[in-house]
């Protein structure tokens, strides 16, 4: 007889704290990924972190110039104090006085939206953080657009490709501008259109009127997109409103507020005024077309705009949104407009990438149709096309990072430049609060938060400020083109009542002890200095 031997049933031991902690940690990534909106938030976070990081690094290297960061700082600072957006730095430079309004420079009341940030911390760096935040928010919108068009995983690539695109980096390298709002607004409008809300889309697009005067032309082209979607009435409204608004803003508002006519007319190769330019375009269409690609910088720019979406943007009418601002720049005589640099290209990144997404989606549908795939189930060829496109835009993003942010940040600073920075920081600390200063461009930016007003010192045009800060080895080469100009200006100041308060490593702090020298344009007038 066999007797059953009852074996003890093993009782699972309770996990120790360490084991529980380990399991929790191991499961953390999965839980994080499972969080709602994790992916878009991750894209947003990456975009913000990278662009804010670039901004912080550049700030530490005195890499921002007073034109244009100080302009916006002064405008927003005044908004924050419920004043009109005076920008003395621009007014003194333009010769219109320190009471010059930023709205007379460009009609961009949207800057007032940044004022609350100055209530928290009235520092220029808030504008840089705002800029990064706007880009980050836009990357989230682009992600959403791509998710609905191509799927979730491709959206990650598209979102990051936008957030780190070369146009965004270049804009980050020059600091906050009003156009940064367009970077967000345009994708938002396109997203509403994608969601089938044309009315909302038009409303969002019309907010571009507050960004800059020529943005109305983008709204007008937005009307074309509405037309293609069958929204004829809204399309006409958008087209008319956009054109009319831009015409009013350019010809009435900005000149009236700023007191300067034709200050941005840079189309002399077409004609002396818009009428002549239009006639020239009609009479000489070929030379006008040639003007679009007449320099290697323009060719560079066009190519780099094309590769942002690996060329796929050409397959979508959305890309037409980029045409008005691009035409205005490419036909201009101002070389800086047509280079793949500065902030001008930031709004185009979103437009072109979304156009690329749209184009890729079209091609995928076409391929599936050709291969008789059932809708919603992309075939092998369509998937291959999509993956190749994603690889391409990723590669272009990485290459763009190398040419733009990496080059700007990795440029090895010479010992002289490092010494210059240290000396500049000392010089900034020397200037008393609310003093009037004429400062070299790079040093003017950190001074902006502390000094009551700030004037950029332009070679040969002193403005009668109490303090003058000059720098020889500035990372910003405008308006001072060379060290010899600095030296020439320093001698002039010393010969006209200024004394040296600080001099080290090419940085000079000069102080005026007496009255404003005769014969110079004292922009401060009788104001206390």
């Amino acid at each position: 007889v066999s007797s059953a031997v009852e074996l003890p049933v093993p009782v699972p031991a309770a996990p120790t704290f360490g084991e529980r902690a380990e399991q929790w940690l191991l499961g953390l990534p999965g839980r994080v990924r499972a969080l709602p909106y994790f992916a878009p938030l991750a894209v947003v976070a990456v975009t913000f972190a990278v662009n804010a990081g670039i901004a912080v690094m550049l700030w530490g290297r005195l890499g921002y110039g007073a034109f244009d960061l100080t302009i916006f700082d002064q405008a927003v600072r005044n908004y924050a104090q419920f004043h009109l957006p005076y920008v003395p730095v621009k007014g003194a430079y333009a010769g219109t006085g320190v009471d010059f309004l930023q709205l007379g420079d460009h009609f961009s009341p949207v800057n007032a939206l940044a004022a609350p940030l100055y209530w928290i911390w009235p520092d220029v760096r808030m504008l840089l953080l705002l800029q990064a935040a706007l880009y980050a928010a836009a990357s989230g919108v682009v992600w959403s657009y791509a998710k609905d068009a191509l799927g979730r995983v491709p959206a990650h690539f598209v979102g990051v490709a936008f957030g780190l695109s070369w146009g965004i980096q270049e804009a980050t390298l020059v600091g906050y501008h009003e156009l940064d709002w367009a970077v967000l607004v345009v994708p938002l409008a396109l997203r509403r259109l994608q969601r089938g809300r044309p009315g909302q889309a038009l409303a969002v697009a019309c907010s571009l009127f507050l960004v800059k005067e020529e943005m109305g032309l983008i709204v007008a082209v937005f009307g074309l997109l509405l037309w293609l979607r069958g929204e004829r009435r809204l399309a006409v409204i958008a087209a008319v409103a956009g054109v009319v608004w831009s015409a009013i803003a350019i010809t009435v508002l900005v000149p009236r507020i700023g007191g300067m006519h034709n200050q941005y007319w840079s189309y002399n190769s077409l004609g002396a005024n818009p009428k002549q330019a239009a006639l020239h375009v009609v009479e000489h269409p070929l030379s006008t077309v040639h003007l679009l690609v007449s320099t290697s910088a323009k060719q560079d720019l066009l190519l780099w705009l094309l590769v942002v979406s690996a060329g796929a943007c050409l397959l979508s009418p959305i890309a037409l949104l980029a045409v008005p601002p691009l035409l205005l720049r490419m036909l201009s005589d101002t070389a800086t407009y047509s280079e793949p640099k500065f902030h001008y290209n930031a709004p185009l990144m979103g437009i072109l990438l979304i156009a690329g997404v749209d184009g890729v989606a079209k091609v995928m549908r076409w391929l599936d149709g050709m291969e008789e795939q059932s809708p919603g189930q992309p075939g092998e060829l369509a998937r291959l096309f999509l993956r190749t496109w994603l690889a391409a835009i990723t590669a272009v993003t990485v290459i763009g990072l190398q040419y733009h942010a990496y080059d700007a940040l990795s440029a090895a600073a010479s010992p002289a430049q490092k010494s210059f920075r240290a000396a500049a920081k000392t010089a900034v600390a020397m200037i008393p609060k609310d003093a009037t200063v004429e400062a070299e461009s790079a040093i003017a930016v950190p001074l902006s938060a502390r000094t009551r007003n700030l004037i950029l010192a332009e070679p040969g045009k002193p403005h009668g400020s109490r303090w003058v800060v000059l720098g020889k080895a500035s990372p910003i080469d405008w308006p001072w083109a060379s060290g010899s100009q600095v030296e020439k200006a320093r001698r002039w100041y010393l010969a006209n009542g200024y004394v040296t308060r600080f001099s080290r490593d090419g940085v000079y702090v000069l102080y005026r002890t007496g009255p404003v020298p005769a014969g110079i344009d004292n922009v401060w007038g009788q104001r206390p200095q």
């Binding site: 780099w304 094309l306 060329g311 060829l381 190749t388 391409a392 590669a395 290459i399």
Partner: protein
């Protein structure tokens, strides 16, 4: 002839139209690129870059005169004092395209050369398209054209197109490969021997560069090729291939042997002088694979054929439909070509074992060739690969190259500009998309498939066109005016006016010393202008002569590949019979000259103290010149000891430096600290009329690059000249002075330098004139010169040796005195000496390029052997009959027993079969074998296939998504076939 009938049939059928398309597109593309670079008539630029301006254009101008009957191909008096021209023809002019210069007036020779370049490029594209299509009949003809254009307009072509004679390689390489295929597939020796012979004749140098590639190719194809390759034993195959190449070399003997003698006669090391510029950083080499990159200093190889081709070529090693041995073999060949920029031995292997002087990495076109060869085959096979696998492969390859581009951008910023990086990225992506569309769309109508194929072809062409435009934009084309203005507007007219009339003999040359790579004056201009001159520049210059010229104090290149008249003295001008001297400045300060002709910007002076081309040499004339000092050499030559007197005080005055004597006995100057410049002044006195010279052979940078602007030399403190410099490094003529004090001043900023003692010399003019008159008494008269001969009469009062100012180059074997053959000797290191007895003598001599007769014999033997090979091939065709190779391979792939046992069937029993491959063109292939049986076998196999196999709308059977060929019986061949590149008739 069967082949001509076949060709006519193909032309009529339009099956060869893709060749014309490839030709036209390549010509149009590169022509547009050149027009975009503002080459005349689309701008003011010309292609006369570097040696094109200095040498090739002038050689072509001379060739035009040869073709018009005004000059000889064998010999010319116009250059190098008498030049064996045949080796120059063999290297620079033997291309059949060069004949086109005959139809152009001289002033449009640069345009003729542009046309020749374009024609060579177009022919290269056409030949490559033909090869590609033959290699992969699965592919489409238009795609073959699309791949061929990037090969023909590759980075190598754009960067080196000014080396016009190399461009023949563009079409010779595909022709060689096709001939090799004929040997591989059909065992025919005749095509390979014939093409090898033609290649060696057209450009032996590039043929030599291509041979290692060809050998590797044959080995790879033999070992790993597909079923159409006949394997008759490796040893036997090697012997056959070697024999074919040997016959080819023999055919070219008529040019090869004279060239060998010409090279051996040259001063340059036959294996070159320049250092081998390897190893290169891998990142640099990788960067040069992307289209558009350009290395201004030619420090890296031109490898690119656009960027899109990279994607296609990279698929090749992973396509399992191609035999592994072949894939590995071609991969190894690619690695070998890449290794040529890493390893000296491999570099030499692809350069004929020679180190090129300038313009290195001449094998670049073969990399482009390999890229398109592999790329085309890969695309052709990819469409037959399972869709998912093909897609995965294509994606991975694309990602790899995008990653490589990122790495290259990081490491090679100077080569990879932002524009190029963007265009390369776009090229890669478009290439991938194009390949994906052309190979991935498998269920679409044939018309759509054909369009996607055409799209890929367009992508390839546009991609390479953009790259070529970028490369061309980076090149610095000189002005078109350099052809007509040399160096002033009237220079050429003045030079031409000094050309001797028919039969007469005298020499003339220019005194303008700044050659500047031919931009101002070509070192070969006399070939064009017709005067008998000394200037010459080519790697085939006479070494003996140039050494002698160096010893006599003439300016010389560091490698002695060119020598000019610069450095002449009254004595050398008399010796070499320089009757006229051309200047750009009025008022020539030189003794024994008088102005005879004048233009606004050029003057011609006659030298009144010259000797005839031959004269009875003084008994003391040395056989070997003094190598140490040109003044001494000239004094010994004329038996005038001490003629070049020192007119100055022994020690010059110096400011800014310490003066010392160097260990070699020269004056050594060391600049004092804090001094900016050193001034050395010689205080001198001229007695009577004297011609003044300085010479500074051992001074720094004399005769070496860059060597300009280091010293400034003044006579009496005026008219500073840059001496010594690279174009003026021999004896320098300061002009004449008569019974006066003068100073010579040398200024430099160098820290340390040395100057020979007795730096300044004075030659007594009266003494020279007396010597010339004495020697002229026994000079050659009644001189008659033809293009290849010279004759004259001499009255010798004593037995001796007649000095002829004719270089003693090989080829003057036929020298007769009074009709009797004599053996000439060498006088003054490099000149002909003819022994004569006392009395009245007639001397005649004629030139025949050395090696030409034996070479001609070799060529005749080679041609006979070639004829034998032709007859052998004909017999072979009769015995085994051509195989239906592709058909056989198809059957084997489909699992059948193949046609191995298929008996030979006479042509008369062949069955006409039309093979129609959807989206591709089946190729013509003679079906001497029992094609009917094969067709029946295949048809039965197809019939036995499961019914589940899908069928395309047009009825094409699809296996795994791949359309199989459709066999149409003879009755069906009458029906037109829809797809334009799917027509084929197989008989």
């Amino acid at each position: 002839m069967r082949w001509s009938a076949s060709l006519a049939r193909r032309l009529r059928s339009g099956a060869t139209s893709y060749l014309a398309v490839a030709f036209g597109v390549a010509v149009l593309l590169y022509g547009t690129v050149l027009a975009g670079s503002r080459i005349y008539p689309f701008g003011s630029k010309s292609i006369l870059m570097y040696d094109m301006g200095n040498q090739y254009s002038v050689f072509h101008a001379y060739y035009q005169q040869v073709l018009h009957g005004h000059a000889s191909l064998l010999f010319t008096w116009r250059s190098d004092l008498g030049l064996n021209f045949l080796p120059l023809f063999a290297y620079y002019l033997a291309s059949p395209f060069s004949l086109l210069v005959a139809f152009f007036p001289e002033q449009y020779i640069p345009e003729a050369m542009v046309l020749i370049i374009l024609l060579k490029v177009g022919t290269g594209a056409s030949a490559m398209a033909c090869y590609l299509h033959r290699m992969s009949p699965h592919g489409s003809r238009r795609l073959a054209a699309g791949f061929a254009v990037p090969y023909a307009v590759s980075a190598w072509t754009v960067s080196y197109s000014f080396n016009i004679m190399w461009l023949d390689a563009l079409y010779l390489l595909p022709l060689l490969l096709m001939a090799g295929e004929s040997l591989l597939r059909r065992g025919r020796l005749f095509p390979l021997a014939a093409v090898a012979g033609a290649a060696a004749l057209i450009n032996y140098y590039m043929f030599g560069i291509m041979v290692p590639f060809l050998v590797c190719y044959l080995a790879i194809r033999y070992a790993g090729g597909d079923d159409v390759v006949r394997r008759t034993g490796a040893g036997r195959f090697t012997i056959k291939a070697g024999a074919a190449l040997g016959v080819g070399v023999a055919i070219a003997g008529v040019l090869l042997l004279p060239t060998y003698h010409g090279l051996a006669n040259g001063r340059t090391n036959i294996l070159g002088q320049d250092p081998i510029p390897v190893p290169l950083p891998w990142s640099t080499q990788a960067a040069r694979l992307f289209g558009g990159t350009f290395d201004w200093f030619q420090g890296s190889p031109n490898l690119a054929a656009g960027s899109a081709v990279l994607i296609a070529a990279s698929l090749f090693p992973f396509l399992r439909r191609i035999r592994r041995r072949e894939r590995v073999g071609f991969l190894a060949l690619a690695a070998l070509l890449m290794a040529a920029s890493q390893n000296q031995v491999v570099y030499l292997l692809f350069h004929d074992g020679e180190r090129p002087n300038a313009f290195p990495f001449r094998y670049g076109f073969m990399v482009a060739a390999l890229l398109v060869m592999l790329g085309y085959r890969a695309v052709a096979e990819l469409r037959r690969t399972e869709a998912a696998t093909a897609g995965r492969l294509l994606f991975r390859v694309t990602v790899f190259w995008l990653g490589a581009l990122i790495v290259v951008v990081h490491f090679e910023r100077s080569l990879m500009t932002p524009y190029l990086a963007a265009s390369a990225a776009l090229g890669l992506v478009l290439g991938a998309v194009g390949i994906g569309a052309a190979t991935g769309l498998r269920r679409v109508p044939r018309r759509v498939a054909a369009r996607t194929t055409a799209l890929l072809a367009v992508i390839l062409v546009v991609d390479c066109g953009v790259a070529a435009a970028e490369e061309s934009a980076a090149m610095k084309y000189p002005s078109r005016g350099t052809w007509n203005v040399h160096p002033t507007a009237d220079w050429t007219a003045a030079m031409k006016s000094t050309a001797p009339p028919d039969g007469q003999f005298f020499r003339s040359d220019g005194l303008y010393v700044n050659f500047l790579n031919g931009l101002e004056r070509s070192q070969n201009e006399s070939l064009r202008d017709g005067n008998f001159a000394q200037n010459h520049f080519s790697s085939l210059s006479s070494g003996l002569l140039h050494d002698a010229e160096f010893d006599l104090g003439f300016t010389e290149h560091i490698y002695r590949v060119w020598a000019g008249h610069t450095g002449s003295t009254l004595l050398t001008d008399a010796l070499l019979d320089f009757k006229y001297l051309v200047t750009t400045q009025p008022g020539l300060n030189r003794a024994d000259t008088q102005l005879v002709r004048s233009w606004p910007s050029a003057d011609v002076y006659e030298n009144t103290a010259t000797l005839p081309v031959g004269f009875l040499a003084p008994a003391t004339m040395p056989r070997e010149l003094n190598h140490d000092n040109p003044f001494t050499a000239q004094e010994q030559l004329f038996d005038m000891p001490g003629a070049f007197a020192d007119p100055c005080q022994p020690v010059p005055t110096v400011t800014g430096a310490n003066q010392d004597i160097s260990p070699t006995g020269e004056m050594l100057y060391t600049k004092r600290q804090g001094q900016k410049k050193v001034v050395v002044t010689w205080h001198c006195h001229a007695t009577d009329a004297q011609e003044l010279y300085v010479w500074s052979k051992r001074m720094p940078w004399a005769g070496q690059y860059p060597g300009s602007g280091i010293f400034s030399l003044r006579l009496d403190g005026v008219n500073p000249v840059d001496y010594p410099n690279v174009y003026d490094n021999g004896i320098h003529d300061l002009g004449s002075r008569t019974d006066t004090d003068f100073t010579v001043t040398l200024t430099t900023a160098l820290g340390q330098f040395s100057v020979p003692q007795r730096f300044v010399r004075a030659l007594d003019v009266a003494q020279v004139n007396a010597k010339v008159a004495e020697l002229s008494q026994h000079g050659l008269y009644d001189v008659h010169a033809t293009d290849t001969s010279l004759s004259g009469t001499i009255d010798a009062d004593h037995a001796g040796t007649v000095f002829l100012s004719v270089p003693a180059i090989k080829g003057w074997g036929d020298v007769k005195v009074d009709g009797k053959q004599v053996s000439p000797t060498i006088l003054a290191s490099a000149f002909l000496g003819i022994p004569v007895t006392a009395g009245h003598h007639t001397i005649t001599m004629s030139f025949s390029p050395p090696g030409m007769r034996m070479g001609a014999g070799m060529s005749v033997v080679g041609l006979l052997m070639l004829f034998g090979l032709y007859k052998r091939d004909q017999r072979g065709r009769g015995h085994d009959g051509p195989r239906a190779g592709r058909l056989r391979a198809l059957l084997e792939r489909s699992g059948g027993p193949a046609a191995s046992a298929a008996p030979a069937v006479p042509d008369s029993s062949s069955v006409a079969v039309t093979v129609v491959e959807p989206d591709a063109e089946p190729a013509t292939e003679p079906a001497g074998e029992s094609v009917a049986e094969l067709a029946a076998e295949l048809a039965s196999k197809l019939a036995a296939e499961p019914a589940s196999e899908p069928t395309a709308p047009d009825g094409t059977v699809l296996v795994a998504g791949v359309p199989l060929p459709r066999f149409v019986l003879p009755d069906e061949t009458a029906a037109p076939v829809a797809a334009d590149d799917s027509k084929e008739t197989q008989a």
